[in-house]
Each structure stands twice: as structure tokens, then as C-alpha cells.
């Protein structure tokens, strides 16, 4: 079995983001990048599946040379091969999904893991689009995954509970926190990853449907209001929550 994991390279959630001078991109100076946290669950599930059933794993990422760091991390965790679909311009989700789908076809992968969303643009859609382009089954926001022959039993997170679904290979699975405990890249893994080559492939020009016209920072948080320090303040608190904040 060939298992693919699609990973993205995103700003560390702890980094302070500034908008670039063109107003359309973030300013990368001083920003540390990490593997998208949800993709770590995807990598772990790919590794566990391989350890159980054998096969080969490949990590795929669209981006420039900088994203190699994230591919190296996937390799250090234990992924066998890595492909960089090289490009340095903005691509919307569909354009990325097309590039990934072509490569997945090329790799002959029948099981594909994604993170449920990438924490940079938060579109939560690349996995689904890729599945559609490939004609694969797709289960999203997965917190439990079992493979029996060709059959997949997956647990999904839904509002207030869980949903158990059944589907079959070939399939795209998007991973949610809770699916597993991602392993740390071990020192031996890091040394082994050094010997692996990241295969670089050029991409045709992007055909974007969506264009970013502006990026804006959220309005600064308003300071809190103290309306009292004992129970006599409760009626006023309830009134404000109801009438001003409109949350109850």
C-alpha cells in the first residue's frame, strides 16, 4: 500500500503576525514556521498504518524552498519519501488541490492523510477538494481510524458527539486532534532524514479562482469592565450579557 500525507508549512501559532507592505501577505520577517499542527496527526496515522500493514509513505507539500523544513520534519518522524511541488507564488485551495491530486495519482497512493485544516489560511477544504479531483472517498475531521482490508471505519467529531462512518479505499482522511499522539522526531530519525532526498518537481502556473485583495488585523480587544465585586452585581451582569453582549 502506498500512503501519502499532505503537509503544510505554517507560522507558529505562538508567533506574532504582521501584515506585509502590500497589505495582501503576511510579513515573514521574524516569523518561525512549523509543520501545521493537524498535519502531525496525519503523519502519525500514516506511520501507524504503515507499521501495521506495511507499505510505503510519502509526504507531499506545495511551496518554495522554505517548506523543506516541514518535509524534513515529516521524514524525521519516519516518513519514507518526500516530494516538494515547487512554487513560490500564492495558490488558492483548488490550485493546491490540483497539484496534490496530480502528484498523488503519480505516486499511485490509495490512502491519503491531510490535517483537517491548515492553521494559516484556515480554509478547511484542501483534503475534500483533492478527494473530489481524484474521485476518492473522503472522511473529514477524523478522530478514530481503522483499516480492515479495503474497508475503513472512521470516527468523526460532530457537534456534541461522535459519528462512526464506513467507507473504502481509495480514500482521503482529514485528521483532527485526538486521532493519535504524534511521535517526536527522534535524534536517530533526524539523522536518518538527512540521508533522504527531497524530490523537487516544478508546477505549472497557478490558476486561482480566489484572490486575496487585503489582509487586516482584528480590531484591538476592548478592555474589560468591572461592574461590581459581590452578588449585588449579578442582575446588571445578566442585563449586559443579554442586551450589550447579546450572548444570553
Amino acid at each position: 500500500m502506498k500512503i501519502a500525507v499532505c503537509v503544510s508549512h505554517v507560522p507558529d501559532t505562538a508567533t506574532k503576525i504582521n501584515i506585509g507592505s502590500d497589505g495582501k501577505k503576511i510579513d515573514p520577517t521574524g516569523v518561525t514556521y512549523i509543520i501545521n499542527p493537524y498535519d502531525e496527526f496525519a503523519v502519525e496515522e500514516a506511520l501507524k498504518t504503515k507499521e501495521k500493514f506495511g507499505g510505503e509513505t510519502v509526504a507531499i507539500c506545495v511551496g518554495d524552498d522554505a517548506v523543506k523544513e516541514t518535509l524534513r520534519k515529516a521524514l524525521a518522524m519516519g516518513i519514507d519519501n518526500a516530494v516538494l511541488l515547487k512554487d513560490s507564488i500564492y495558490r488558492d485551495s483548488i490550485s493546491i488541490a490540483k497539484a496534490l491530486a496530480d502528484e498523488i495519482k503519480n505516486q499511485n497512493a490509495d490512502l491519503v492523510f491531510f490535517g483537517k485544516q491548515s492553521v494559516d489560511y484556515d480554509n478547511s477544504i484542501t483534503g475534500q477538494l483533492t478527494a473530489e479531483l481524484l474521485g476518492y472517498n473522503c472522511v473529514t475531521v477524523v478522530v478514530g481510524f481503522q483499516l480492515e482490508g479495503n474497508k475503513i471505519i472512521a470516527e468523526r467529531e460532530v457537534e456534541g458527539g461522535k459519528e462512526i462512518v464506513e467507507t473504502s479505499l481509495p480514500a482521503v482522511i482529514t485528521a483532527q486532534k485526538g486521532l493519535n499522539e504524534p511521535r517526536y522526531a527522534s535524534l536517530k530519525g533526524i539523522m536518518a532524514a538527512k540521508k533522504k532526498v527531497i524530490e523537487e518537481k516544478p508546477l505549472p502556473p497557478a490558476e486561482n479562482y480566489v484572490e486575496i485583495i487585503a489582509m487586516k488585523k482584528p480590531a484591538p480587544k476592548q478592555p474589560g469592565k468591572i461592574i461590581g465585586t459581590d452578588s449585588s452585581a449579578v442582575p446588571e451582569l445578566v442585563r449586559l450579557l443579554h442586551e450589550e453582549a447579546k450572548v444570553i
Binding site: A14, K73, Y184, G189, I190, M191, K194
Partner: protein, 389 residues
């Protein structure tokens, strides 16, 4: 969970290579997830978190500079230093465990051991399946280990050991002790295994420092060890001192982790703690402290990195290691105490890590050569006069 973002005022990051950064990040994450949440409880209960030992082994943190054929990562000394730095950000006791296992047990077995000893012990120590300790200090011989009275005598089929060691990290936990003793007046290393008749390793109680680390006595009463358990390549005081050089190097890096944790805690606290209507970070005296801390961290980082690069080139002098150990431990203790001051009364609580680091660093400043001894080692180097012998 908050990811630790590091303290790096001089873009020292740009001086690290890809592997070094990856190792640092992996251990940093491990410390955030596996050590910081549990360490205060162990500290309070005077216990070492044994459950992390297999995880440390799996990550590959024992003996990381040794060859891959023994199950080690075979990385450079800068990577080793960064690992120590991240571990000590968690706790000096956890770093001590890894220092001892790597620099004071695996290193001497690798350097002075027979092939049989290496093949048997190194893979098991690398995985954490076996634990080791290093017995040099004695009740009456600390800074002056050459005066040791523990002795070995040749008997048929092996050696008989008599004497006692004190202040031995991991002693009670260890499956194997690297013990330094005099044979016909000359110091040699011996491997003493747990359970050998006449050997006991009671834990020392009552520590106010390094409480999440086990410290023990080693007692030898007519302990007969087989011939094959002498470290054949060891000879004279130089051998244990070579081990100490490895460990001191790791300590110089390690304490930077403590400093980073204390500085970060103080900075965040000072920005949010309001007194007299303003955050205390807005007062000049607090800023002076914070700047001092950051400045000392930056100097220590640069000292370490150059020390590591020299070590990787095989050009490092033991007096340079002494300088880094001496400087960084002293500054780390100052930084921890300043951080405690900035936190006011909260600084003494175990809700914050600073008092624990401060108490730990008292030991770290003393072990592996006290501050004074390192001063005198460098003093002798630059003047040509020994002021301690």
C-alpha cells in the same frame, strides 16, 4: 499548551544548522509536553520521574555523540549542548540524569572500556533499559578527588573493592556504577553492578536542591568484581577528569535553559503585575533586572556555541570548558534569584518554576567542579602558578 519560543536576542538561531535546530525543537516540545507539567509534583515529593526514562531513550537523548552502531545518534557537540539546554529548562535534575548517563557512564565505557563492555552496556544505556552512575566524590574528598581512599586490590579472578562514595547522582537507581578506586596507588575505573555482594547504594535524604534527582552513597565492603569489569583503558586521575570535561560542557549549556525559563517567567510576570497603578515592567529597576538577565543569557549562549564549535573541531581546551561552566552557572544562579525577586512573594511558590531552578542551581554551581576550583584552574592556566595544590 504554550509552546516555548526560546530566548534569542542576537539571532544565534542563524548560527545553527538544520539538524541542530530540529533536535532542539524536538526536545523543546518534549519538555513542554512531558516534563514541565509533571516536574513540580516530583520535586515536591523528592522523586525522579522514572516513567520518562524510556521516552528519553526513544528520543535518542542518551550518549548522542557516540557511534550509531551502539544505538546512538552520532550527532555533534552543539546538538548535545542544545539537548542539555532544553532539558534543563524543564529541570536540572532531569538534565543531570541525562548528563550522568551520557557523559559520565557511556563516555567512559566508550573511551576506556573493552569491546565486550561496549557491546554489552552501550546499547542498553542508549535505550534507557539500563541506568548508570558515576562514583568519584567521597565524603572526605570532593574538590580533591585525587586523595580518594576507595581502593581495589587484586584477588584471584578479579578485584576486591573497599570504601565509600558520596553525592552520587542516580546511585540508588543504577544498574551499573562506574567507580573510581586506587589499585596499587593508581586510579582506575571499575564497573560495579547492582546486586553484587557487599555493594549497597542508599539514597541521601534531606536535600533542599535537585529534589527531582536521586543522590546516593555507594558503599563497598569487600565487593569482589570479576576481572572483566575493570575499565582497561583507564589510568590515573586524568581518566575521570576526561569524563568530567564532557559533563561540564553539558552543564555550561544546560544552565542556559534554566536562565531562559526564569527570564521568561519574570518578563511575563512583570508585564502583567500592576503595582502603584503601573505594570512593574514599567519601572526602571525592574527593567534593569530584565536587561541584565537577557544580557547574561546572550553572553552565555555565545560562549557555549563557540565552545561547542571548538569541541567539534577537536580544538577545545579543558580550561575553556572551565570558563564556560564557571561563568554560566554563576550567572544562571543570579538570573534565577533576580527572577524570584521580580515575582515578589509569588516567586517562592511552586506555581512558578523560579525558586526550584534557583535551588537546583546551587548544586549545579558546586558539582562538576565548584566555582572556586574552576577559577583556580583558569588562574593556573594564565599565570602558571597553581593556587590549589
Amino acid at each position: 499548551m504554550q509552546r516555548f519560543a526560546g530566548v534569542d536576542y542576537f539571532d544565534i538561531e542563524s548560527l545553527l544548522n538544520e539538524d541542530e535546530k530540529m533536535v532542539r525543537n524536538s526536545v523543546r516540545e518534549f519538555v513542554d509536553v512531558e516534563i514541565i507539567p509533571i516536574i513540580e509534583k516530583h520535586y515536591r515529593e523528592n522523586s525522579f520521574p522514572m516513567h520518562i526514562v524510556p521516552k528519553l531513550g526513544e528520543l535518542g537523548l542518551f550518549g548522542i555523540t557516540l557511534p550509531q552502531k551502539y544505538g546512538c545518534a552520532e550527532m555533534n557537540n552543539v546538538a548535545y549542548g542544545l539537548v542539555m539546554q532544553e532539558l534543563e529548562r524543564g529541570d536540572s535534575g532531569v538534565r543531570s540524569f541525562v548528563s550522568v548517563q551520557s557523559s559520565l557512564v557511556m563516555y567512559p565505557i566508550f573511551t576506556f572500556g573493552s569491546d565486550e563492555q561496549k557491546d554489552y552496556w552501550l546499547p542498553k544505556l542508549a535505550s534507557g533499559e539500563k541506568i548508570g552512575c558515576f562514583g568519584l566524590t567521597e565524603p572526605d574528598f570532593g574538590s580533591n578527588p585525587g586523595g580518594m581512599v576507595t581502593r581495589a586490590e587484586k584477588v584471584s579472578g578479579g578485584y576486591k573493592l573497599n570504601g565509600a562514595k558520596m553525592w552520587i547522582t542516580n546511585g540508588t537507581l543504577a544498574d551499573v556504577a562506574v567507580v573510581w578506586a586506587k589499585l596499587d596507588g593508581e586510579i582506575h575505573g571499575f564497573l560495579v553492578e547492582k546486586g553484587m555482594p557487599g555493594f549497597s547504594a542508599p539514597e541521601m535524604k534531606g536535600k533542599h536542591s535537585l529534589k527531582a534527582s536521586v543522590t546516593s552513597e555507594l558503599i563497598f565492603q569487600d565487593v569482589v568484581i570479576p576481572e572483566k569489569n575493570i575499565l582497561p583503558g583507564s589510568k590515573g586521575l586524568k581518566s575521570p577528569l576526561m569524563c568530567l570535561n564532557q559533563a561540564r560542557y553539558g552543564i555550561a549549556w544546560g544552565v542556559v535553559g534554566s536562565m531562559m525559563e526564569c527570564y521568561n517567567t519574570a518578563l511575563n510576570y512583570a508585564k502583567s503585575r500592576v503595582q502603584f497603578g503601573k505594570p512593574i515592567a514599567a519601572y526602571q529597576m525592574t527593567q534593569e533586572k530584565l536587561v541584565y538577565m537577557l544580557n547574561e543569557i546572550t553572553k552565555s549562549q555565545l560562549l557555549n556555541l563557540q565552545l561547542g564549535r571548538l569541541k567539534d573541531l577537536g580544538k577545545v581546551k579543558h580550561t575553556q570548558i572551565s570558563m564556560a561552566k564557571r561563568n554560566n552557572c554563576e550567572k544562571a544562579l543570579e538570573v534565577a534569584r533576580m527572577s524570584r525577586e521580580i515575582l515578589g512573594a509569588n516567586g517562592i511558590l511552586d506555581e512558578y518554576p523560579v525558586m526550584r531552578h534557583s535551588a537546583n542551581l546551587e548544586s549545579v554551581k558546586t558539582y562538576e567542579g565548584t566555582h572556586e576550583m574552576h577559577t583556580l584552574i583558569i588562574g593556573e592556566d594564565i599565570t602558571g602558578f597553581s593556587a590549589f595544590e
